[in-house]
């Protein structure tokens, strides 16, 4: 190899902040120890005030929006949180939680492992940001026209519209039922209503709502930023993931199926 001249190595001396800043938390130091907080406020609200006068769902909303929600928004968010609290035993994230449990992995790892899987693009938080941006981009257009414009793409890839698609070859009935429960709580000109019209337009090609799409629509309607969508979805599914993992944590390793050698097929073309 020829000798090449490279840039001389030296620091850029970039100006980094002296302190981190936050709009969320403020802590008043105690008189005797500057490391110990005496009063803690979130977005200006004293934590004890929130504990006594606000509900969990209101404080949850506050964390991500910086303001307490209206009663209608709190009701919509709470109802969605109930729907998302348990992704069910067959979701890949729940199955990962079960493997953590039955494998006798430290129980502290159930959530990091399973919520990481819940961050995937298939039925997970990984598809929420693009679904929220899809609603931003298209929800002012006629849903019939949007369905028509995606017709060719959907033939090649049924997941071309983020948040919508096929579930085991069909439309997901349960997601559609969740939407029906949420619609009365949602304003008429909402992403959720528009998404329902889109789902109706896509029904003839067997494509419908997927759960991340439902969450993305409600998150959009509640004003959450698309970038927060993935984490919110992971967070809201966490209780069910943890519960399923813990359910198997005290059971023997034989409590989950183990594929027999006879049913394990290696289908490798040839040596690399």
């Amino acid at each position: 190899m020829a000798d090449h001249q490279h840039d001389k190595v030296r620091s850029r001396n970039e100006a980094f902040s002296d302190k981190v800043s936050s709009k969320i938390s403020s802590e008043d130091a105690s008189f005797g120890n500057p490391y110990i907080a005496e009063n803690v406020r979130w977005y200006g609200y004293d934590v004890e005030d929130l504990m006594q006068n606000a509900s969990l769902v209101e404080v949850f909303y506050l964390m991500f929006r910086g303001e307490l929600p209206s009663a209608a928004d709190a009701r919509l968010l709470e109802t969605l949180m109930v729907a998302l609290i348990n992704p069910g035993p067959r979701h890949p994230a729940t199955r990962a939680a079960m493997n953590v449990g039955v494998g006798k992995t430290e129980t502290t790892h159930i959530l990091p492992v399973s919520t990481a899987v819940m961050g995937g693009e298939y039925l997970g938080g990984g598809s929420i940001e693009s679904a929220m941006r899809f609603f931003r981009k298209y929800s002012k257009k006629d849903p019939e026209d949007v369905a028509t414009s995606f017709a060719d793409a959907l033939v090649t890839d049924a997941s071309s519209i983020p948040g919508f698609g096929k579930y085991y070859g069909d439309t997901d009935i349960f997601s559609a039922k969740i939407v029906q429960s949420l619609l009365p709580l949602s304003q008429e000109l909402s992403a959720l209503h528009w998404g329902s019209a889109l789902a109706s337009a896509l029904a003839s090609v067997n494509i419908g709502w997927l759960m991340p799409g439902v969450a993305a629509a409600v998150f959009s309607d509640l004003g959450f930023h698309p970038r927060s969508g993935a984490g919110l979805f992971q967070l809201m599914s966490a209780p069910g993931l943890l519960a399923h993992g813990l359910e198997l944590a005290n059971k023997p390793i034989t409590a989950m199926p183990y594929v027999s050698d006879d049913n394990y097929v290696i289908d490798t073309p040839s040596k690399a």
Binding site: D7, R10, S11, Y168, D170, K271
Partner: protein, 276 residues
């Protein structure tokens, strides 16, 4: 077109069954990876990095290339907790998690658009695309002009320019490693150097280790996705080191923050009653 009935039948045929395109373990018979018997053909015969690359790409590479990979891993994982992934490991040490937790989450942090493993895909994408255009007659200068004009005239090309410092001390080390192992300079790397020359002349900016690795491994025939997969646990050892450094010290000693070290910029003090 496949009906949902067909799809259900396909799924039913796979219930309780695994069909692997990679390998598996059959007690008493053997362990297989990409057609190789791991215990007869790989373990003790091939290096760990040859096996790592085989599992990440399906390709069994030469021992020289595996040694090159091992060397570059050493260039990309340092025990300095100022680096973001390493600081996560250090904070895991403060919090007294397990070493596996610290190391795994430090590696997870490198799935970043700004540093770590993910930018390799963009680096490889850039140099492979650049070579295609170069073969069609575009000069290195034109490639730089094109890339910088798309970024408002700034030379922000993945694989060139480095955060925190200018220049990259790892380039010369890896060039020596490549030479020692007998690798010739390939087309991607030659173009990468030509691009660096233009950037140095026009912007006083050079190639970084991402640019070198992207070009070198492109010359070895890897795709961007394969290269990303080969480096999945790249920073593991540096993170473990930073974890241990803080775990062995009192918990509150690592970069302690006073309450007023976090500058509050949110709303003034208010009450829930006023908000109702």
């Amino acid at each position: 077109m496949k009906t949902s009935h067909d799809f259900v039948q396909e799924l039913d045929a796979r219930r309780g069954k695994i069909i692997s395109q990679t390998g598996g373990w059959f007690p008493g018979k053997g362990v297989y990876s990409h057609g190789y018997s791991m215990l007869e053909e790989l373990v003790g015969e091939k290096s760990y990095f040859q096996i790592l690359i085989l599992n990440a790409t399906g390709k069994l590479v030469s021992s020289e290339l595996a040694q090159w990979m091992e060397a570059v891993y050493g260039c990309l994982s340092w025990p300095d907790p100022r680096i973001w992934c390493n600081q996560i490991g250090a904070l895991a040490g403060v919090a007294r998690t397990s070493a596996v937790t610290a190391t795994a989450i430090g590696c997870l942090a490198t799935d970043s658009r700004a540093y770590g493993v993910m930018p390799l895909m963009e680096g490889v994408g850039f140099i492979q695309e650049a070579l295609l255009r170069h073969r069609q007659g575009m000069s290195a200068e034109d490639i730089v002009k094109d890339a910088t004009s798309a970024r408002g005239g700034k030379p922000f090309i993945v694989g060139y320019i480095r955060p925190i410092a200018k220049g990259d001390e790892r380039l010369e080390v890896m060039e020596q490693v490549s030479q020692k192992l007998g690798f010739a300079e390939g087309e991607h790397l030659t173009l990468a150097y030509a691009i660096e020359k233009v950037l140095m002349e026009k912007f006083d900016e050079g190639m970084n280790i991402n640019g070198y690795v992207s070009a070198f491994l492109s010359d070895q025939g890897f795709t961007a996705q394969e290269i990303y997969q080969m480096f999945a646990m790249l920073v593991a050892s540096g993170v473990t080191a930073c974890y241990l450094d803080t775990k062995q010290q009192p918990s509150e000693y690592f970069l302690p923050w006073r309450c007023d070290d976090v500058q509050y910029t949110g709303p003034e003090k208010r009450s829930v009653r006023d908000a109702r």
